[in-house]
Amino acid sequence: MLSIKDLHASVEDKQILKGLNLEIKPGEVHAIMGPNGSGKSTTGHVLSGREGYNVDSGSIVFNGKDLLEMDTEERAREGLFLAFQYPVEIPGVSNMEFMKAAVDAVREHRGEEPLDSVSFMKKARERCKAVNLPIDFLKRGVNEGFSGGEKKRNEIMQMMLLEPKLCILDETDSGLDIDALQVVADGVNALRDSGRSFIVVTHYQRLLNYIEPDYVHVLSDGRIIKSGDKSLALELEEKGYGWLVTADEEGVA
């Protein structure tokens, strides 16, 4: 599904990723944890191709294709989805209109006809229900006046509509109460299948109680310094990151 090799990337000439390696197979859920500033969110934005996030060296292969050769929108159409940490508002553009354009763009890329409005609306209503968003959110401007929790649920709704191959959740749990967290996790779990992979970026182990990962990676200073199964998350919860980071620095020295 995704193969990241020795990735070095920088933002505004500041090197953030310094030799990241990651292999993700179809159906797997990978959690990326790590202290502030370790490069977790940067990883998501480099993968999705955000402007200003420059890859200095290394490679990323996504479904057998060179991801770095593709524009942002091409990556999305190929099935890469990023659920934003801070979804931006687009006033006056309805969620419905926005998602119709997105779904049609992906379908066109696959050589499919645009979805007719009736089928689209049916699907969109189902997805809204799944994440507990009132149907009239489809008519409202994209994220316009949504609460923090509503914005996050709206992201998951979009993900469910686009049915991507690789879903990256960038701190989707931040600012969510327990109930909202459950809704978001249910949405993600409903999408889990053997052909779809997830990268779950989070600060807290809590989310991983709801979305059980196959692997947990600790990112520090732009590299993965430890990988393990879900028990690693519990260990981190207990001990923090300090011991790992120190061990890593000593190892390097």
Binding site: T72, A102, A105
Partner: protein, 479 residues
Amino acid sequence: MSQEQIDQLIQKEYAAGFVTNIESDTLAPGLNEDVIAFISAKKNEPEWMLEWRLKAYKVWKEMVEPEWAHVHYPKIDFNEVSYYSAPKSMADRPQSLDDVDPELLETYKKLGIPLHEQEALAGVAVDAVFDSVSVGTTFRSKLKEVGVIFCSISEAVHEYPELVKKYLGSVVPQKDNFYAALNCAVFSDGSFVYIPKGVRCPMELSTYFRINESKTGQFERTLIIADEGSHVSYLEGCTAPMRDENQLHAAVVELVALDNAKIKYSTVQNWYPGNAQGMGGIYNFVTKRGIAHTNAHISWTQVETGSAVTWKYPSCILKGDNSVGEFYSVALTNNYQQADTGTKMIHLGKNTRSTIISKGISAGKSSNAYRGLVRMNPGAEGARNFTQCDSLLIGDQCAAHTFPYIESKNPSAIIEHEATTSRVSDDQMYLCQQRGINPEKAVSMIVNGFCKEVFKELPMEFAVEAGKLLEVSLEGSVG
């Protein structure tokens, strides 16, 4: 006139737009009393009309070109403009699309107005003005049945001289401003509408203005009179071929809404804006004003995407008590376009109300200014105004300006003004692209969203057209 003929007429009007080689009777450039007499004679006008023109010409000669607008262009030599041009015969217009330069056809297609779709205009009566003449007005007899007069102003001068004499220049006097005075002297054609008492006009009325001939100016004159308790919705559209030279368009539109009448006037202005390097395009200097009598309602909606330079302030004089004025505007400038546009709401009567919603979008190296006056005269007891004026910037080389003028001479009047300036942010673009939407589509979606409040005021078909037009106008605005 049959539906087929109407469709043909509309199609011809559009198709004609893209033909560069039409044989025309074009007057040599220059402006003097003989030229005015020539125009008047061409239209076989009565003596009083010629005198009215000559009077305006004298006024104009004493006036100086206004320089207060936030626009820059080389001084116009009014003696280098031709003031009259008309196709030699209607037969000279292309009979089929095969005669049209494919490149121009493509441009039209890109405008979102493929010709067969003009069938959507079935419920709309059209007056088609080509250079200096009206080439035809549809649905006239059907309108006549309910007493609605819809014809070219040239015909109205002959057939309804009393109405013309009474109202022409009653809202925009000859000496109102430099361009209005010029228009009074040399106006060529335009539309005339009269809606009798208590009649609700059964269909949309519209005029399509087309400049075709090079080195000519177009001086359209439109007069709409809604008698007591009547209703009318009117729409104008304008296009011009791409030429390297600048062409002058100086129009005057006068609206008279008598007691309890309602006039809704919508414009989709798409004059040639000049090329990406700022060469060519129309100079659009327009005076539009309406007078609203007791309980009357005048609503201006404009979508301004064309012209190299726009100088235009559709205004309302709220003379009668309880009269209402509205101005909804989308003005988009790209490349080197300049627009200085807005409105004037003059509150004279008691409890008069006005609403101004202006959306300015600047892209490329363009400059877009909103200029608006809200005046509450001493008699405007309990009058209210609400103004919302939003600017959207695309890229970092364009400019947006806001010049609001507020004068209140009545302490009971309430004036509210809100203004915002925003950008199409990188984050918005990123969100769209991350969802698979290409940058051009993303910008047009964001801009359309920004304009939504104004588009919903347009008649349905034209709202769609306006949206598409924005898309085309924005082409190349994303790096």
